[in-house]
Symmetry: C2
Subunit: 219 residues, 2 copies
Amino acid sequence: MKKYIPILKRTKLFAGVTDEEIGVMLSCLDARLHTYKKGEYVLRQGEHLNCITVLVDGELHIQRDDYWGNRAIINRIAVGEMFGEAYIAPESGALLNDVVAVEDSAVIFFDVRRIITVCSSACRFHSMVVQNLFFAISEKNRTLVQKLGHISKRTTREKLISYLSEEAKRQNQSSFTIPFNRQQLADFLSVDRSAMSNELCKMRNEGLIEFEKNQFRLL
Amino acid sequence: MKKYIPILKRTKLFAGVTDEEIGVMLSCLDARLHTYKKGEYVLRQGEHLNCITVLVDGELHIQRDDYWGNRAIINRIAVGEMFGEAYIAPESGALLNDVVAVEDSAVIFFDVRRIITVCSSACRFHSMVVQNLFFAISEKNRTLVQKLGHISKRTTREKLISYLSEEAKRQNQSSFTIPFNRQQLADFLSVDRSAMSNELCKMRNEGLIEFEKNQFRLL
DNA sequence: ACAAGTCGGTTGTATTTACAACGGAAAAGA
DNA sequence: TCTTTTCCGTTGTAAATACAACCGACTTGT
């Protein structure tokens, strides 16, 4: 697990904490490492979780399939990001979504209560992590609201424009790569893949965008 | 401001804190009270916020109007709930939404940094509030995901069923009142009001639901 | 009591979408 | 290399939606 310390160091959760301090916290927070093959479920809807988790390798989707097989990709977790932070509270209840490995992945689980219960020794790095956790959850909150902004648009085209322009802004360039293939993007924006594909091509024909595979450019 | 202590006491943020302790914190956290008339803006998109706020009277909508005048109601804030928690981090940037008073309302603003920076005296109630804040933000996170679940449904009917059945479950009875009028519900679910109205009546004709004004019953 | 405004249901039409099915190109696997 | 699978664009059709317009019931304010 120690080999992931350099990665943990770059996460929002452990920002400003030194390697040695992280090493100490790994045992202090009862960290456990699990690995998953592409396609495996990390967590399933209905399970209970009392850990904060950090993805240290691979990629995860937080998603939900409904009764009719429609998939909604709620969120995407990249290396260094965390998930499970919505279930910190003891009375949080069961998970509402599945968490699936889209690539071979490695996840570290941390005991929640040991994080948010400030230890008696009140170590410097612990209170740092507490504050980091605040910021991280808070930021995820904003991310969710932004996503709401995308899918609350009425038409497929508007959803695409909303998503693509935010992505361009986030990556700070008009040409950028998105982390989804077509089906995944459709699931993320909650639209039909073929309809979306169609709309994308229309937009290209109208000279609004260019794209090839996952590479997009706004014009 | 002291007259709102009984209300604050029942909020998630101050759960488990006594009246006197809240009284102390009001000054300790630099609390400020503002009141708003129905229709007034509490905060506007683009502004900066470095406070956690609690609604102590009235009702707020967190919403966003796009260029074409389409309104999306992101969330509803009831008495005792808080907002602004997504902007705790110093680098959060500007507000992405408007916050509007739907009724005459009163809001208390608390300085964020004084909350999350544990004071040197490490008072009992302060660490309590820190933990409460964790749980509250975390819960809001879940609320947002639930809302995503509603509007990620493809048809108006599915959105309605998703929303109404969650509301029934939340209020723990098949007959319940919703906090929106038709237009607001449409804005909340991101659909057209008349189309939604139409769909509601179809569902009634099919014997799925009953309703009158804001009172609904699932059958 | 009257006028103005709000609210919710209804209808028709043009637009948009989902869905199913297909095919070619590229990638993955044997 | 050959086969299989994945990915993505295309098309046609049926279904669902947005939009505008209208009406009656009810509320609010004067």
